[in-house]
């Protein structure tokens, strides 16, 4: 039984059509013209409990609009949506009880009060028992180190500290579904790792995660599934391993020889590989399903004495970059 179900989900915004300059603005007062802008276009999405889904796409693709539709903030123009059996925009408060939301760009902490107060308010808002609240705080202190942040006024927190406190705030009531928008933005590498480990644990415990992020490390470390949206439409939905196997096959071996090696010789030894460079330094691109690194290495050693080499693994990052740039059509 899926926990998130959306079908044909569509959100259209009306955008005023103003012509250039003051004249255009004045003309708009009399003849108001609008164009419909489809931010989310017939999105179908099913997410099972305990899944961690990366929801990615270039800026303005409709990611956060989708999240706002799922959280009940926005009312869809058409289509159906259900989260754990609740229609979010119709039963907003019922939906709010079972979800946790983090908007990385905004804080839900009370700016002028110590973090502890914001968390205590959330305890009351979600009817968390005192015992559970204390246990939760201890847990957050262990993973996110928020103990030291509790007495600090939110306004005085650094970005990284604020994000940790905001994560605690979003997860305090043990929500069944968690929407995280850029959860590791501004965090240093050590904290990032801890946050990601925490998110993995959360998933293992059966929490459903939906992550919108530009940080591809978040995706690879936390999620099993990736949904790519562009111009309001889902253009890919599948497992991360599948994306890698289909589109991130190209490994690169950078090699330095002790003496000059003719490029033609390498081409002869390695049919089907892409060879760049000349003289002593080369980059060999090869498909990890047709050649093993050992095969390539053996061929290189036959060509000359190798001084140094380095192997680049394909990253999901390259795939997504190519999709955004329009070089790769995953649907095809």
């Amino acid at each position: 039984m899926p926990i998130i179900e959306a079908s044909g989900l569509t959100k259209t915004f009306r955008r005023p059509d103003k012509r250039e300059g003051l004249g255009g603005s004045i003309a708009h007062l009399f003849t108001r013209r609008f164009t419909d802008h489809v931010a989310v276009d017939h999105v179908d999405l099913t997410v099972e409990p305990g899944e961690a889904v990366a929801y990615v796409g270039p800026n303005g693709a409709g990611k956060s609009t989708t999240v706002k539709l799922l959280t009940g903030i926005l009312v869809p123009s058409s289509g159906e949506v259900r989260v754990a059996g609740v229609v979010p925009h119709r039963e907003r408060t019922a939906n709010a009880r079972q979800i946790g939301v983090l908007f990385g760009q905004r804080t839900q902490l009370w700016w002028d009060l110590p973090v502890r107060e914001s968390l205590a308010l959330l305890r009351d808002l979600y009817d968390v028992t005192d015992a559970d609240y204390r246990a939760r705080l201890a847990e957050f202190d262990h993973i996110l180190g928020i103990g030291e942040l509790l007495p600090v006024v939110a306004r005085k927190l650094s970005l990284g500290q604020r994000m940790r406190a905001d994560l605690a705030a979003a997860l305090l009531h043990r929500p069944r579904v968690v929407y995280l928008d850029e959860p590791t933005i501004g965090l240093d590498i050590a904290v990032k790792d801890r946050v990601r480990a925490f998110l993995r644990e959360l998933c293992a415990d059966g929490t459903t995660l939906m992550l919108t992020t530009h940080d591809l490390g978040d995706i690879e470390d936390v999620c099993q599934r990736i949904v790519i949206i562009d111009e309001g439409r889902i253009i890919f939905d599948g497992s991360i391993a599948q994306v890698k196997d289909s589109f991130a096959r190209q490994r690169q071996l950078h090699v330095d020889f002790t003496q000059t090696v003719p490029r033609a010789k390498l081409a002869e030894l390695l049919p089907g590989a892409e060879i760049e460079g000349d003289a002593r330094a080369f980059t060999i691109g090869f498909d990890r399903f047709t050649h093993t690194a050992a095969e390539v290495m053996t061929a290189l050693l036959a060509a000359g004495e190798v001084a140094d080499f380095r192997l680049d693994e394909p990253a999901i990052e390259d795939v997504i970059r190519r999709v955004y740039a329009g070089d790769l059509d995953l649907a095809a």
């Binding site: 956060s64 706002k68 959280t71 903030i73 907003r92 760009q105 009370w110 002028d112 808002l125």
Partner: protein, 262 residues
């Protein structure tokens, strides 16, 4: 209920961070009060009586008007509008609370600074210009009841005008329009009995007189007994009507939420 109490308590503490902001915003209201006191002082100062107002009663009337004007003023006003404008409303909407009740709880929580500051200003004016007439215990009880209705009423007027931010970017315009309408029809600056007949008739069917004139007239004894009770009933009637109207407006406004950029 507990959650709304906690919200109110939080805001009661948070407003302390905006002391200066609040005092500054109160200055505008204070200048208005002083200007009105000066004008009426000249008109009534030498013992005249206009429309049943002598100088002491007029002073009391204006001070009550000032107290009502200070309630749910600047800070609550801009906070509610600002959260809608900058998209923070998105976070409020993901909480398991009724939006309107939550906003009301926050306003109630923040109101204590407004009351304390306004009372301090009133005390200062009295110390400076001399005592004002006080109602008997019966009048005082009616006054307290009437004043109690002012808080939700003002909240609702301000809340509804803040909801306009779902439709327009220009809250300043809405804010000023509301200020002008409220100060005219609430009788806070000039008692409504000084206006032409048609203005009085219009004011009688609008909710604004309930926000200031009613408690002020009860304090100075122009509204008594059954008549006062009737006007207080009207105040609470407006609270209920506006509460329901605000719900309808919110239901419509929420469909227009367009929070862009994250």
């Amino acid at each position: 209920m507990k959650k709304y109490m906690t919200l109110a308590k939080m805001q009661a503490r948070a407003v302390l961070a905006y002391r200066l902001n609040f005092v500054l915003s109160l200055f505008a209201l204070m200048f208005q009060l002083f200007a009105m006191l000066a004008i009426w002082g000249v008109l009534l100062g030498s013992g005249q009586n206009l429309n049943g107002f002598d100088w002491a009663h007029m002073k009391a009337y204006l001070l009550v008007g000032f107290l009502c004007g200070a309630l749910v003023s600047q800070s609550a006003d801009w906070r509610m509008a600002g959260r809608i404008q900058d998209g923070m409303v998105a976070i409020d909407l993901t909480k398991p609370v009724d939006y309107q009740k939550a906003q009301f709880a926050t306003v109630v929580g923040g109101a204590w600074t407004e009351v304390v500051t306004a009372l301090a200003v009133c005390a200062g004016v009295i110390a400076w210009t001399g005592a004002v007439p006080t109602p008997g215990w019966q009048g005082a009880a009616l006054f307290a009841l009437s004043l109690l209705a002012v808080l939700p009423l003002k909240f609702l007027i301000v809340y509804v005008s803040a909801l306009a931010c779902f439709y327009t970017q220009n809250y300043l315009g809405v804010h000023w329009a509301r200020l002008v309408i409220v100060s005219l029809f609430s009788g806070a600056l000039v008692p409504l009995s000084f206006f032409p007949e048609w203005v009085q008739q219009l004011a009688a069917v609008l909710p604004f007189a309930s926000m200031s004139a009613t408690p002020a007239l009860i304090w100075i004894g122009q509204l008594r007994g059954a008549q006062a009770l009737l006007m207080i009933a009207a105040q609470f009637g407006w609270v209920v009507a506006l509460w329901l109207a605000a719900r309808l407006i919110f239901r419509h406004a929420i469909k227009r939420v367009t929070i862009h950029g994250g």
